[in-house]
Amino acid sequence: MTDGAAETRITDLLRSWREPVLDRWVELAFDAVGGRVTERELRTELSELYELVERAFGDDGAAMGELRATLAELSRGRARNGFSPSETAVGVFALKQALYERIRTTRDQRAYNDLIDFTSFVDELGLATFETYAATREQVIADQSEQLLELSTPVVKLWDGILGVPLVGTLDSARTQVVMETLLEALVDTGSRFAVIDITGVAAVDTEVAQHLMKTVMAARLMGTQCVISGIRPQIAQTIVTLGIEFGDIATKATLADALKYALDRSGVRVTGGPED
C-alpha cells in the first residue's frame, strides 16, 4: 500500500459497486465450485469476504488479519470437503474479473491503473488459500499415518502367558519403536512368558527389518520373555539366508500355529484330543 490516493479510489469503487460486483463474483465463483456448494452459502461466505477485502484494502490492519483468518477457515473447509486447490483459489481470483468487468464499462483510466495494485492484492489472498489448503492436506495425511500406526500394531493374547503380535506391512524404525513399546507394556501388564511375533504380513525382510526384529526380541528377552518369530515365508527365508542375516538362537517357526504349539509345550500346557484320538 504505497499510494494513499490509489487505494481510496478502488476502495470507493468497491463500496459503491458492492451489489453488482458481489453478484458477479458469486456467479463466477459458483461456476468454479461446480454446484457442490449452494449459491446461498457461497453468497454468505463471499459477502463476508467482500466486506473484509474492502476494509483491508483501505489499509485497515485489523481487517487484514481478520481477512486472512476467514480465508484460512474457508480454505480449510474446502480442503476437508475434497475440493481441489484451484477450485478454491479460482473462487477468490474471480473477484478480480468481477471488478475488472465493471471498471471496463466506465473507461475510468485512473481506476485501470489502480486495478494493478488491487490485482496483486487479490493474488496474494489467492496464494494464501493455496498455502492453507496444502497445510490442511498435510495435516490430514499426518493424522492418517498416525492412525495407521496405531491400527497396525495390535498385541493380542493367544493363551494365558502367551502374547501374539501380528505384523502387517513394512517395518521401519518408527513402527518398530511402536511395536516394541506396545509389546513390552503388554508383557508387563499380562506377565506373559512367551510372545509370538508373526511376520506373515510383512512384505519383505531386509537387513534393516531383521535388525529391528532382533532389537524387539532382545528387549523382550531382557524383560524375561521368550519371543518366537513365525510366518517366515519361503521367499523370505531365502532372502534372509542370501543376505547372511543371523537370527542367532531366536526360535523361528513356519506358521503361527507351530509357534503357538511350541510356546504351549514350553509353558507346560498339554493339548489333548485331536484327529488321531
Binding site: 506377565g191 528377552r221 524375561g224
Partner: protein, 128 residues
C-alpha cells in the same frame, strides 16, 4: 556411599535395588555379592530392578560381570522386573546381557531358580 542390601531367602540371595544406581554402588554390590555367595554357598542370585528407571552401559555390563562371576561360583543369576524403557535403552546401547537370565517378576525369577515363593505351589515340573 549407599550400599544395596543383600537378603538371603533359602538357597537364594535377593538383591532389590531401590536407589539410583551410581557406578560406585554397583561396584560395591559386585564385591559384596561375591563375598556373600562364597560365605552362604547360595545357588542363585536374583537382582530385582523393578524400581530402577535408568540403566547405563556401565551398569548393564556390570550385571553381565556379576552373572559370569557368580556362575564361576556355581550360582545362577536372574535379573527380574526390568522396565520396558530400560529394556529398550539397553538394546539401543547394543547390550543384550548375554549369559544373564531374565524374568518378568520376582516370583517368576524364584521359579526359574527352582526355589519357588515361600508357601507357593511346588516348583513347576514343566520343563522335564
Amino acid at each position: 556411599m549407599e550400599r544395596v542390601p543383600i537378603l538371603k531367602i533359602g538357597d537364594v540371595l535377593l538383591v532389590s535395588i531401590q536407589v539410583d544406581l551410581q557406578d560406585q554402588t554397583v561396584l560395591a554390590l559386585q564385591e559384596d555379592l561375591a563375598d556373600r555367595i562364597v560365605r552362604t554357598g547360595a545357588h542363585g542370585v536374583i537382582i530385582d530392578i523393578t524400581a530402577v528407571d535408568i540403566v547405563d552401559s556401565f551398569i548393564g555390563r556390570t550385571f553381565a560381570t556379576i552373572a559370569s562371576m557368580s556362575r564361576l561360583m556355581d550360582s545362577e543369576t536372574v535379573v527380574v522386573g526390568m522396565r520396558p524403557a530400560v529394556a529398550i535403552t539397553l538394546v539401543e546401547l547394543g547390550l543384550s546381557l548375554g549369559g544373564v537370565r531374565t524374568a518378568l517378576d520376582l516370583e517368576e525369577g524364584m521359579r526359574l531358580l527352582g526355589a519357588g515363593a515361600p508357601g507357593a505351589r511346588a516348583p513347576a515340573a514343566d520343563h522335564s
